[in-house]
Amino acid sequence: MSLLPKSGIWERLVWSWRPQSDREAGEAVVANFLLHWFPNRVTLKSLSLKYSLYLGTISMVLFGILTVSGVILMFLYVPSVEQAYWWIKDLDYAVSFGWYLRRVHRICAHLMVAAVFLHMFRVFLTGSYKKGSSVGSNRPFNWVLGIVLLVLTLFLSFTGYLLPWDQLAFWAITVGTNIAASVPLFGEEIREFLLGGTLVGQNTLIRFYVLHVVFLPLALFAVAIWHMWRIRKDGGLAIVEQVREKNRERAPEPPAKTKTWSVLGIASGTSVSVLDVGTVDELDSVPSSPFLTTRLLAVTMVTLIVVMLLALVVPAPLEEAANPEVTPNPAKAPWYFLGLQELVSYSALIGGVVLPAIVLLGLALIPYLDREQNRIGYWLTDQSGRRWGVLGLVWGLLWTVACLAIGILFPMRSVFPDIESQLFFDLVNPATLLLLSFVVLYFLVLKLSSSTRTAAIATFCAFIIAFVLLTWTGTMLRGPNWLFYWPWQPWPEHAIPF
C-alpha cells in the first residue's frame, strides 16, 4: 500500500490512505462506518410504508430538529426566576425569528411524543417485539429499550414545559411534582429532590433546565443509538421473519467446490450442504443504497417540511408570568398527561402512581409474557387477533366511558358520605375499576383464546382507546374547577356561583 499525497481538502480530512488496488478499495469499504450503518441489502418488505410507517425515523428526525433548535434557544434564554419569562417574551417580540424558533421547538416536542407513542403502537400491533429465529436476536430487550425511550421523551417534554416560567408552566410542574409526592413512604423526599426545596422556585428551574438541556438529551441519544444498533443485531426489522419463513421452504444449497488458503497453499475441497434462511434472495431484496437511504432522506424531508409549515400556523402560547399565589382555572398538565390528570382527579395514589407504574411495567413485560413466535410482522397477527382486537377496543371503550360516567355523575365521596378513610377512596374509585377491567380482560381473553398474543392484543387495544378517551376528556371536556362540559357547552366567563 503506497501512501500518496492526497489531492483535495476533503481527502486530506477524511481519508487516512488512498486505496491503490481493488483489494485495498475493498478493505476501505469494510472499514467504513457509514457504509455499515445499514446492511448491504434490505428486504422489500422492510421498506414497505404500510408495515413500519417510518415512525422510528420520524421520531429521530424530530429529535434532531429539537436538538438544533434547542441549542439556538439556549443562547437566547436564562434559567432565572426573575428573567426567564422575559427572555421568552423577547423571543416572541424582540428576537428576529425568535417566535419561529419557539414554535418549531414546541411543535416538534409535541409531535415527537405523538410519534413515539404511535411507534410503540405500531411495533406492538405488528408483533415486532418477538424474538423470531435470527441468531443473536433479542427483540424483546429492544422493546424494553423502546419503553425507556418513551419515558425519556416524556421527561424531556415535561422538563421543557417549566422553562417559559408562565402560569401554564408553573402549575403543570406543581401538579406533576405533587403526583410524585403521592408515592408511599418517601414521596415527599422525591418531590423535594425534584424541586430542590419545598416550593417550585429557582432551584426547581435550574434543575429542570439542566435535565432538559444536558442530562436527558444525552441519555435519550445514547439509548436511541443502542436501540438502532440492536435492530441490526436482531437481524433487521421484525418483518424479515416472514422472508426467513419463506426461505425455510426452499431447497438447501447443494455442496459446491471450494478453494481454501491453507498454510501449504491452496487446498480444494467440497462445501457442506447449506440451508441458510438468513440469506436474502435477490428477488426479495434491493441494495440499501440507494433504495433505503433515499427513502430515509424523503421521510426526513417530509418531516422537516411538515414541521416548518405547522410552525407557521400553530402558535406557541405564553400565559401570564408564573404567579404562585393564583392558580389558573382550570389548571392543566401537558396534553399527554391529561389522561393521567383525569385519573388523578379520582385518586392521586392510584391515578398518579399505581396505575402508571403498572402500565409501564405491563408494557415492558409484554414480550416476556407473550412468547408466541408465529406470524411475526403481520398487523394484529391474524383473523383471530383482529377479532379480539376489536373486542378489546369495544371493551376498553365501554369501561372507560363507564368509569368516566361514574367519576362525573357519582363521585365516590357523595356515594359514601360517611366514610372518612382515605385508603377506602384510594381503593374504591373509577381508576381502580378501569385497572381491574384491564386485568379481567387479559385473563378472560387468555382463557377463551388460549393465546398470550391475542390476550395482549385485546388488552393493548383497550389501553389505546382508554388513553385516547381519557386524554380527550381531560383536554376538551374539563372546564373550570375540573367540572364536566360537553364540547358545545360554553365555559362560564366568570367564577361560578355555588
Partner: protein
Amino acid sequence: MSEATPQKGESRRGFLTKLTGWLIGLGLVAGSWPFVRALVPNVLYEPPRRFKIGPPDLFQEGVHFLDEHRLFVFRHENAFHAISGVCTHLGCTLKFSPFKQPQELTVRKMSYRSEGEFHCACHGSRFRDEGTNFSGPAPGPLQWYQLELSPEDGQLVVNMTSVVDRDFRLVV
C-alpha cells in the same frame, strides 16, 4: 495432592474476582455520593414559615385570603384562626366561595356556622370552611396553623410550622 487443590485455587480466584467487583462497585457508589448529596440543599432561601400579618384590627369580620402566604384568616367577633389555602391533593391554591346565607353545619361531630366552601381549580376538590374535604380527590383536610400575638407590637403572627386542632381560636 488431592483433587481439592485446584478447586481451592479456583475458589480463591473467584473470591478475588468477586472482591474486586464489589470494591469497584463500592468505590463507584462512594465516589458518586458527594455528587448526589450536593444536590440535596442544606439551606433554602424560601419565605419564612413564621411571619407577621398585621394588627388584628386590619382584619374585619369574615374571611381573608393572604395571597403571598396562600393562607386564609378567619375573624368571628374577637376570635381568629388561620387555615392553609393549599389543596391537600396536588398543591393548587384554593378559592373561597362564600354562601349567600351562612348555614349551620355539623362536620365531623362539630357544629358551627359555615360561611362558604373552598374550591380547587385543578381537580375539583371541595372543602368545608373548617377544612374538611367533602368532594373530589383531596386526600385529607386542610391544616390549621397556630396564630399568636407578637409581644413587641401586638401584630398577628402565623406559625406555619405548628399545626393546631380545629377548635383553636386566638381571642384578642
